[in-house]
Amino acid sequence: MKSIEELNQSKLPIAVYDKGLDKYEKKPLFQKKMDKANAILATSPPTQFLNERENKRIKQYFEQCLPIEKIAQNLDLTENDVLLRLEEMGLVKCLS
C-alpha cells in the first residue's frame, strides 16, 4: 500500500474538503491582481487561442457523437455557431 507521502507525489494531489473555506467564496480577494489580470486581458485578449481551443472542443464533442444542441449547451454557444464552426472545419456541409 502506498504511503500518503507517495500518493501526494502524484500529479493530482490529495486534497480534503474544508467547510471553513466556503466563507471566502463570495469575498473579493486579491483584487489588485484581479484588476491587473483584467487590464492585461483587455489590452491583449488571447482571442486566437480561445477560438482554436473552442474549435478543438467542438471537434472533440462532434467526434464523440454529441448532438449539436448538447455541444452548444456545453460551450455556451448557439446551435448556429456550432454548425458554422463545424462547417468552417469541413466537418459538416450545411444547406443554407
Binding site: L12, F30, Q60
Partner: protein, 150 residues
C-alpha cells in the same frame, strides 16, 4: 512538479485552496483563489498569506519561510485539481511583483516537459500571447488542460 508539496484543503466549489507553509518564520496559512476574469472561462489565480487574526489575505507580503519551491509546487497542484473539476477553464497567472513573475516563469521552465504532458501553456510578451518557450521574458501566463482530438 513532483517536488514535495503541502497538504491541501479546498472549498465546496473547488475554487479556493488552503495550505500551511512551515519554516523558520513559523506556520503561515496560504490561500489560493481562482476568480473568473472579464473574459469567459479565464480564471485569475490569486495567491497570498492569511493575515493574523483576520479574514484578510495579502498577496504582496514576502514570507521568507525558505520553502518557495514547495509552496510553488503546492500552488501548481491546485491548478491540476481546479482544471480537473473545470476542464474548460483557462488559468491566468502573473506575479504580484516582477520577482514573483520571474519565479512563476522559472517554475514553468524547469518543469515544462512534464507540464506540457497535460497542459497547453502560453506566455505574454510585448502584448502578444504565444506558446511558452524557455528563456523568453513573459509577464503573464495562461494554462489550460490539453484537449485530445484525433
Amino acid at each position: 512538479m513532483r517536488n514535495k508539496r503541502y497538504q491541501l484543503t479546498f472549498s465546496v466549489s473547488f475554487t479556493m485552496y488552503e495550505f500551511v507553509s512551515e519554516g523558520p518564520n513559523g506556520r503561515i496559512n496560504k490561500l489560493v483563489k481562482y476568480t473568473e476574469s472579464s473574459v469567459k472561462n479565464i480564471y485569475n489565480l490569486g495567491f497570498g498569506d492569511k493575515l493574523d487574526d483576520s479574514d484578510d489575505f495579502d498577496d504582496e507580503v514576502i514570507t521568507n519561510n525558505k520553502d518557495s519551491l514547495r509552496v510553488l509546487s503546492t500552488v501548481a497542484a491546485t491548478v491540476y485539481t481546479f482544471t480537473d473539476k473545470y476542464p474548460n477553464a483557462i488559468v491566468f497567472a502573473t506575479g504580484s511583483t516582477d520577482a514573483r513573475t520571474r519565479l512563476y516563469r522559472m517554475g514553468i521552465s524547469n518543469n515544462l516537459e512534464e507540464i506540457k504532458e497535460d497542459f497547453e501553456v502560453l506566455g505574454r510578451i510585448e502584448d502578444k500571447w504565444e506558446r511558452f518557450e524557455k528563456n523568453r521574458d513573459y509577464d503573464a501566463f495562461l494554462l489550460t488542460r490539453k484537449i485530445m482530438v484525433k
